[in-house]
Symmetry: C2
Subunit: 289 residues, 2 copies
């Protein structure tokens, strides 16, 4: 099942790295933009990033917002990016953080995981609307053998504002976590994880440890590594016996060339940054070698 494919890629390539494809036009090397529309430049940039790193990363995570900026042309670039990444054998996590009531959630699930969609393996989902806003994603994921990552404890500074609110003796993120673990329970893959993953920021290592314990069958997507300040020691709490999570880095990988050297060789810098990230997580694979 869906996360089994991701886990097998992790084991085969010995990497938990997810490359966040968040292309900002102003940060794309000039030579790529020359003679291209904005949307074409986004795709061309992504293509090079995928080419230079596909053998070293477990997945890519395009961030929908950065394509929506360019309207329908940007969405076409996102669709091409998803297809290109799939052809390169990569697992694709669409970071769209959708969430709506039942009938609309159904439309979102169909739009991004359905048979007529661009073909992402997985989508991020916001839980604020409760189970009937999440269930349509679970249903489509089951039908199409896909998966989701539900926001539990996000990496940003003000995630505490509502997620850390104490309800009795439990935080709201803990309540969400327990529901996510329960929602996934009926459908566990070979490697012991359900289709309902969770997003938990590397910037909150204490919560990572708490939730790894509370969510034994939930696979984690860890943002906040690198540019946002999370380290590989922080992220370590997401793993048990070397498994249980993937770690995203966006700016740290795709803009590795900035302030460093020749933009024409941006992909060499990216490849080097991926290798460095993999070395930081090598401890996960040494015991299982």
């Amino acid at each position: 099942m869906s996360f089994d494919r991701l886990i097998e890629a992790i084991q085969r390539k010995r990497t938990v790295a997810v490359m966040g494809l968040d292309p900002k036009l102003e940060s794309i090397p000039g030579f790529i933009k020359e003679g291209r529309t904005a949307a074409d430049a986004l795709f061309e940039f992504n293509k090079s990033l995928i080419d230079c790193s596909a053998d070293l990363i477990a997945a890519v995570k395009p961030q929908s917002a950065f394509y929506e900026i360019y309207g329908h042309r940007g969405i076409a670039a996102l669709e091409k990016t998803i297809k290109y990444a799939k052809q390169a054998g990569l697992y694709v996590i669409l970071d769209a953080k959708r969430g709506d009531i039942g009938s609309t959630a159904e439309a979102y699930a169909q739009a991004h995981l359905g048979s007529g969609s661009a073909g992402a393996d997985c989508i991020t989902v916001n839980p604020y609307l409760g189970y009937d806003g999440v269930k349509p994603f679970i249903d489509v994921a089951r039908r199409e053998d896909k998966a989701l990552f539900i926001l539990v404890k996000t990496s940003n500074r003000s995630s505490a504002e509502f997620q850390d609110v104490l309800a009795g003796d439990k935080t709201v993120y803990r309540l969400v976590a327990e529901k996510v673990e329960a929602w996934g329970a009926a459908d566990i893959g070979e490697h012991g994880f359900s289709r309902c993953g969770a997003v938990i920021g590397a910037t909150y290592p204490r919560q990572l440890a708490e939730l790894r314990e509370a969510m034994p069958h939930t696979f984690f997507l860890i943002p906040g590594y690198g540019a946002q300040g999370g380290t590989s020691s922080d992220a370590a709490y997401a793993f048990k016996n070397g498994s249980g999570a993937v770690v995203n880095s966006s700016r740290g990988l795709i803009y590795a060339y900035m302030n460093k050297g020749n933009p024409l060789k941006f992909n060499d810098y990216t490849r080097a940054a991926v290798i460095e990230m993999n070395e930081a997580f090598a401890y996960l694979f040494n015991n299982n070698a």
Copy 2:
């Protein structure tokens, strides 16, 4: 400012109706689909809906999910719909329920309210990530004279799951409500409302009453009327002195023709349904006539 324009339309047209543009291909009359791509059929359907009701409604609310289903072509239809509605003099609320961390929220705000966007007046936003996920929307809204509606208490059945959790003596939705009121406080329009509106379902009249009291400067978007079961008496709690909210109806208006009569005249049924909805809310205008 943005909501002042909406409120002036409400007063001028004597209506609080928002038409939800949630076109589902299988529910669009056959003659509209004939010889058209799916995306073109969505736009053509919306165009007729706008033509037959623009003088009787305060706003339209396209629901992004129903366009995302058709990929970049669907988004092009959404963009055309927004522009067409603006030309018809309508206020446009893009129901996209976006929400992400700071830098990505900035990209979403730019994508949908920014100067290069299709031109919606307003967007719905999910608060689960806290203030730094909402602030970029507020900033762009201020710069472009636009507005947002933040999810507070949604109309769906399982909205209770996290939104009604008790934290001390307050529910989570109440905590969100107080923040929304505070986030808007610095920037109040002529009619007494801030740029930070709130989404509160007509299906929860008790909470509507509570929040109308707690959020005196917050304009409400009320979903859940009609097909979802909310009535005009339920929605009455959203208003004070006849003002303070707009009420959305999607299926009840755009599919009014179904099981009733000639699909060729679907727009007559829609217009009649809008008139019926306006009559149900006529009580708001009788005192202020």
